[in-house]
Symmetry: C2
Subunit: 301 residues, 2 copies
Amino acid sequence: MSLLVTGSIGIDTVTTPHGQAEEVLGGSSVYFAFAATQYTPVRFVGVVGDDFPPEFRDVLASREIDLTGLEVRAGSKTFRWTGKYVGDMGEAETVDVSLNVLAEAAPKVPAAFVDSEVVFLANTHPALQREMLAQVKAPRLTVCDTMNLWIANEREALFETLKVVNGVIINDGEARQLAEQANLVTAGKDVLKLGPDFVVIKKGEHGALLVTADGATAIPAYPTENVKDPTGAGDSFAGGMLGYLASQGKFDTATLRRALLRGTVTASFAIEDFSLRRVRNVTRQEIDERTAELVEMLRID
Amino acid sequence: MSLLVTGSIGIDTVTTPHGQAEEVLGGSSVYFAFAATQYTPVRFVGVVGDDFPPEFRDVLASREIDLTGLEVRAGSKTFRWTGKYVGDMGEAETVDVSLNVLAEAAPKVPAAFVDSEVVFLANTHPALQREMLAQVKAPRLTVCDTMNLWIANEREALFETLKVVNGVIINDGEARQLAEQANLVTAGKDVLKLGPDFVVIKKGEHGALLVTADGATAIPAYPTENVKDPTGAGDSFAGGMLGYLASQGKFDTATLRRALLRGTVTASFAIEDFSLRRVRNVTRQEIDERTAELVEMLRID
């Protein structure tokens, strides 16, 4: 099935206890797209300023990422984020953020993309997510992400978006904040009541929880020691998950659970190096092998 | 295989957002014993004061718990703990603690117990753990717990204990503190270097991690919404795990992993009601059913 992603494209500067990456390609839809192309081509919709380095565009074009929907807006500047991870690198601290072109009009979904079957709305203002989704004719599966800022300040707009998506992929803190509920299983069930058919709660090193009408199931993360930079882990998770789902063309609970494994394994690679390095150079074979290892780990006879 | 536990026996008063339990039977070895008797009889070694209510002794005697090693010390008072859980009930806050008889001489391992094959040293001063263990002739499997207090203040004594046990069962915070390492997999491997053959890191709602020479494997917790009182969850985990291992009589990695499932399932029941209520009235059939449900949840085809 065709897969469309829309979200941020940024220039990141990130510091972790293991080093620094300066002025590198980043953004939610970029991590998502690299992760998803392991399974299926990606239709990419986003906007950058005219300061967007041509070599960054080349990096995107080096994969099966259709850039028809990438708008380079004259006179505008690309989104920039500077962040820092300390200690156990659980949560990023934003040192500096310049929304730039992200604060202007949204990009358009090109005509060639309006028949997209699977749509991922990476994190942005929930009203904008709905505006983007409305341009797609008859999607088979729509999934959104969100963040603490919108949960706190744009609650009503977010509730409207949750009414029109099939799934939501959020982290544990966001789930608790959205449902105003400490227990994650209950939080997931409460979010289901807002509209979606499934809720995926990402828990970083602790794996993920899938909540559907069938109940809640959990998977652990692939146990890894090699964590250099958590930037993009959540978007790589979503890309691995949705890319796999689009490649399977079905969304039943068993397929969703296999997709969750693909998500957590993709994220386990993403954090092994700075910026996009590992998401870019990981092979499908490496992903398949680590997935098989995780499946083996979960086998209880 | 025969299973011996030694640890605290207490009178607890616990408040959680769901209510309060006043002056109830508690203590690490008590939770452990109730959990373990689902699989095998338990030899119990501990000391209480002469204020220990006879009805509490009756509760212990109602199960296959051999109380030959329960010393009632004249003129001493029973250990008392008052604790509180708030918010997501992740960590207990100690409101009041009176060590009482626990600050005096250790109880003796009775002659009838010195041939015990599996020994669990519930949390107490590490030197005392070694003293108790030294009284057992030729144990086949010895496992200890510990806590932040000893990790911080009795590091050398704890290291000596870790040299003489086969396994250690600790929570994530304790593992990080003991290894001075944020990554839990690395922390587990570092603890292995101190002596044990395996390290179990309990992560509460996030399940558990098993680290052996074969590497690290993770299991998720049974996803539960019904959390009333987390008191004793860790000791119930250890009791379910060690009781199962003693009943199997072998300790290879595959058996350890099945034992981990038994531990996390036992803990998932323990937290469903105040004090020992649920650990006492849960049936083996309920445990088997929930374990089967968790195994099913982990099956990826």
